[in-house]
């Protein structure tokens, strides 16, 4: 039976357990003179039975479904004759796909070596057995759990406490998923990164000035000199992010100042949601806009004034990315400007300063740490943004500071290296994980620093 069918079945069993336990608790209570004489309401006895039935079964089901594929593959590979054992992970996946194609009937068994055809048969039987065992085990656990909870419906047992304890634990597990996600991210990049540094020296990756992972595809060129230097990617990312911040910081900051200090309530109520719409537009839409409208426009404009511009200029990607992060800068600045106490404002105005003088000399300095925190958050956004640069920036890793040139970024490289089928052990694929690691570390640092600054600043005026 498939996992997808087993899931509703387990839930149905849980509902049945609920109903049975509910009825039993009423039956138990009846001779004692009503449910008032139970330690808990019938609902809790029933809920406990449902939890006992569903949770262990679901945990087993998830674990089985998660690992059955890998275990079966391992057994199938081990069953092959020794002389055809795969030597590398790539070879293993090749053999496995051949076997599963035969098993699925996509490949005629007569066209493959005998051991492959045999393994395909084994794969089918193992899958069949796994399916059967899984269904039996999961349903058995569900029934046993329900039966145990059903047998423990007794007036002296406080089912409410045990239900509440279980719920608390479930809530805790849900909160801990955030930690698991972080751990998952760290481990998923760290293993491949370490393997990558086994092939390409870390110094070369960090300080090399040329990036061309494609050449490393040829066997005799793996790790050839300078193919995996991330400096051009890093400078490209910085260039585009810098352009984006040059657009977003003044526009975002000034509009936040205007909205919080000058604008009437009605203007504020219409302009703010409109600006927030900019943040809600999907990045792929910005990418489309940058690649098909802004980039050709900039190229034509540059040509008109006699400059040469690439049709995938950094300027186009940077400008559009800047528009995208305007609302981040403005809403974060708005928050910190509003957090500056009114007394500072009143004091300055009472001394005869104009509103703009108050803003520039009193409020802005007071809000500066918070604003810097907001800018750092915006910068981390810009560095990690993918779709705009994938669509509007180029692939060529040029080491240049000319915004009219085409540059590539870390995120573009990760996306292009990992899109489509890839073998897991080529240096090319592994390099994407190393880049992902760099990206994760840099954005994490920026975020941690920014959040610290913002928090510290808030405490100052609280």
């Amino acid at each position: 039976m498939q996992t997808a069918n087993l899931l509703p079945l387990v839930l149905v069993l849980a509902v049945v357990a609920y109903g049975l336990a509910f009825m039993r608790s009423r039956a138990v209570a009846a001779p004692l003179g009503g449910i008032r004489n139970l330690k808990a309401l019938p609902f809790y006895y029933a809920a406990r039975a449902a939890l006992w039935s569903a949770i262990p079964a679901l945990v087993v089901l998830a674990a089985w479904a998660g690992f059955e594929g890998k275990v079966i593959q391992g057994i199938v590979i081990a069953s092959l004759p020794q002389d055809v054992w795969p030597e590398s992970a790539g070879q293993a996946s090749l053999i496995l796909s051949q076997i599963s194609n035969v098993a699925a009937g996509k490949l005629n068994p007569d066209f493959v070596p005998e051991h492959i055809a045999g393994a395909a048969g084994l794969l089918e039987t193992l899958r069949e057995q796994s399916r059967t065992f899984k269904a039996i085990l999961v349903l058995l656990i569900a029934v046993l759990g329900a039966a145990f909870a059903w047998s423990r419906v007794a007036p002296h047992i406080n089912a409410r406490e045990s239900v509440e304890r279980t719920l608390r634990r479930i809530f805790f597990v849900c909160a801990a998923v955030a930690v698991l996600t972080t751990v998952g991210i760290v481990f998923s990049v760290i293993f491949e990164t370490v393997r990558f540094f086994g092939r390409v020296p870390i110094t070369e990756f960090l300080f090399g000035t040329s990036w061309s992972p494609q050449t490393a595809l040829r066997a005799d060129q793996v790790g050839s000199d300078g193919a995996f230097g991330m400096i051009p990617l890093f400078t490209g990312t910085l260039l585009i992010s810098a352009i984006a911040l040059l657009v977003a910081v003044p526009v975002g900051l000034l509009s936040a100042i205007y909205l919080s200090e000058y604008a009437t309530k009605r203007v504020r109520a219409t302009v703010k949601p409109l600006m927030e719409m900019l943040a809600g537009v999907p990045t792929v839409v910005y990418g489309f806009f940058a690649a098909l409208t802004v980039a050709p426009f900039i190229r034509d404009l540059a040509e008109m004034i006699g400059l040469e511009a690439s049709s995938q200029s950094a300027l186009a990607a940077g400008l559009v990315m800047g528009v995208m992060i305007i609302p981040f800068v403005s809403s974060l600045s708005d928050d910190v400007i509003n957090a500056v106490p009114q007394t500072l404002r009143d004091g300055s105005l009472a001394l005869g300063a104009t509103q703009s003088e108050t803003m520039k000399n009193v409020i802005f300095p007071a809000a500066l740490p918070g604003i810097i925190g907001g800018i750092l958050l915006a910068a981390s956004r810009a560095i990690g943004e993918t779709m705009i640069v994938v669509m509007a920036a180029g692939l060529a890793a040029n080491l240049t500071a000319n915004p009219l040139d085409s540059v590539t970024t870390v995120t573009v490289q990760i996306a292009t290296l990992l899109v489509g089928d890839q073998e897991f052990d080529s240096a090319k694929t592994l390099s994407a994980f190393a880049l992902g690691m760099m990206l994760f570390v840099v954005t994490l640092l920026l975020n941690v620093i920014a959040l610290k600054i913002v928090r510290k600043y808030r405490e100052q005026y609280d």
């Binding site: 409410r160 479930i170 849900c174 909160a175 955030a178 000034l254 999907p282 992902g436």
Partner: protein
């Protein structure tokens, strides 16, 4: 005395300059807002300008003579004959009735390229279904060839006509005048999956893929996000573990989305051996990505429930869990729902992580389950936008309009819910 007067004098003299500065500063603010709103306006205008033609299809209606001689077909029930027959001949013949002068190989080829490349198989399907129609003349409606379609839609712009020969342009102009070539609402867009030919491509497959993915995301991130928020707000002890979890959630909210793609690739596909490009994996990755957003907004909603409610419930003997589940959560629900809808809208527009887990494949069929290969709306837009064909660019902008319509309605729903259900204490 004189000293004071001179000071007042100085102030008065500088006032003009200071007021000018004040006005300039105010102007900068207005200018900044103008730039932001103008970008928004240009963005929308550009997409609508590029994409409105995507909602229009160009059709050619012809009286097709289904002559058995022309098709080399005597018996449409015979499979061998059907597979050998020439179904483009009747279409060319039908076009030739409009242009008797178009004889010879090159003219025939150009005539054949007036209709989409699926037109002959439409004739074939008609005959397979109704063999009795052989040797009759039937009125059939075909999708026009992509080049014809682009030419018709952009009749006022000569730069779109380069891919049609001059002779073809003349034919098209004549047929448009006769009403044979017509434009109508593009129902193909909403009833098919992707295709290699723009006229035949639709976003139904991508919409269904998005829907399936979002269902998985919602089923995971909504209950988990609320549970985590309840734990952190109501039950978590003040200790290092709680602090660590909180720091983690705040940082996860700011991790670039492409990193979640790496996580999905390494853990769900690499470690657990799940298949590529299926809605389940996409949904899982997006669920992990939206979880922090939902947790943060749900916590804010729980925080806004006044303590008096809690105290009243506790006062009449409710347990902590009963206080939370019977009183706090129902009151915080509007805020939680709003936050979740906004998180889901973000997930709906997300592209980058889905590229890495293989949801970029060219998929023609509309997905029929959580484990069938699928793509999602933003990825479909990305794929079409990367194509150089004008027809696909139009489709991409049309897709963007559909995506934006979904997102705007989700956000409107969130705002409506907040206005309707939220209580101010």
């Amino acid at each position: 005395m004189t000293d004071q007067r001179s000071q007042a004098e100085i102030v008065r003299q500088s006032l003009k300059r200071r007021y000018r500065k004040e006005r300039r500063f105010r102007l900068y603010g207005i200018l900044a807002i103008f730039i932001a709103l103008a970008s928004l306006f240009i963005l929308f205008a550009d997409i609508i300008g590029k994409g409105h033609t995507g909602f229009v299809k160009t059709t050619i209606t012809l009286d097709v003579p289904l002559n058995s001689d022309a098709m080399y077909l005597d018996d449409p029930t015979d499979k061998d004959q059907i597979s050998m027959a020439d179904f483009s001949a009747p279409i060319i013949a039908a076009l030739q009735t409009h242009f008797p002068e178009a004889e010879g190989g090159s003219a025939r080829r150009e005539l054949a390229r007036m209709v989409g490349s699926y037109a002959p198989s439409e004739v074939r399907r008609l005959l397979e279904k109704n063999p009795e129609l052989l040797n009759t003349t039937q009125t059939m409606e075909f999708l026009a060839h992509d080049t014809v379609s682009v030419y018709v839609k952009h009749a006022d712009n000569p730069s779109y006509s380069i891919r049609l020969s001059e002779r073809q342009q003349g034919w098209v102009d004549e047929l448009v005048e006769k009403g044979v070539i017509d434009t109508s609402f593009n129902d193909v867009l909403f009833s098919r999956g992707d295709s290699r030919e723009p006229g035949n491509a639709g976003i139904l497959g991508a919409i269904v893929g998005s829907l399936l993915t979002m269902l998985v995301t919602l089923a995971i991130s909504f209950p988990m996000g609320i549970a985590a928020a309840i734990y952190l707000e109501e039950f978590a002890p003040q200790n290092r573990i709680t602090d660590f979890i909180e720091v983690n959630i705040n940082n996860l909210a700011a991790v670039p989305s492409i990193i979640f793609g790496l996580l999905g690739l390494a853990v769900f596909i690499g470690l657990f051996g799940m298949p590529r490009s299926v809605p389940v994996v996409g949904g899982l990755v997006l669920a992990l990505m939206t979880l922090p957003t939902i947790i943060i907004s749900s916590r804010a909603a729980i925080k806004s429930v006044p303590p008096s409610i809690r105290e009243a419930a506790e006062g009449i003997g409710a347990s902590k869990m009963q206080v939370v589940l019977h009183h706090v959560v129902p009151l915080a629900m509007p805020g939680m729902l709003t936050g979740s809808i906004i998180g889901m809208a973000q997930a709906l527009g997300e592209t980058a992580p889905l590229l890495l887990i293989g949801m970029v494949a060219f998929i023609v069929d509309v997905p029929d389950g959580f484990f069938s290969s699928a793509t999602v709306l933003p990825v479909q837009i990305y794929l079409w936008a990367s194509s150089s064909e004008q027809g696909f660019v139009e489709l991409a902008s049309a897709g963007i309009m559909v995506l934006l319509a979904f997102m705007i309605s989700m956000n409107a729903l969130a705002i409506w819910l907040r206005k309707r259900l939220e209580r101010r204490w």
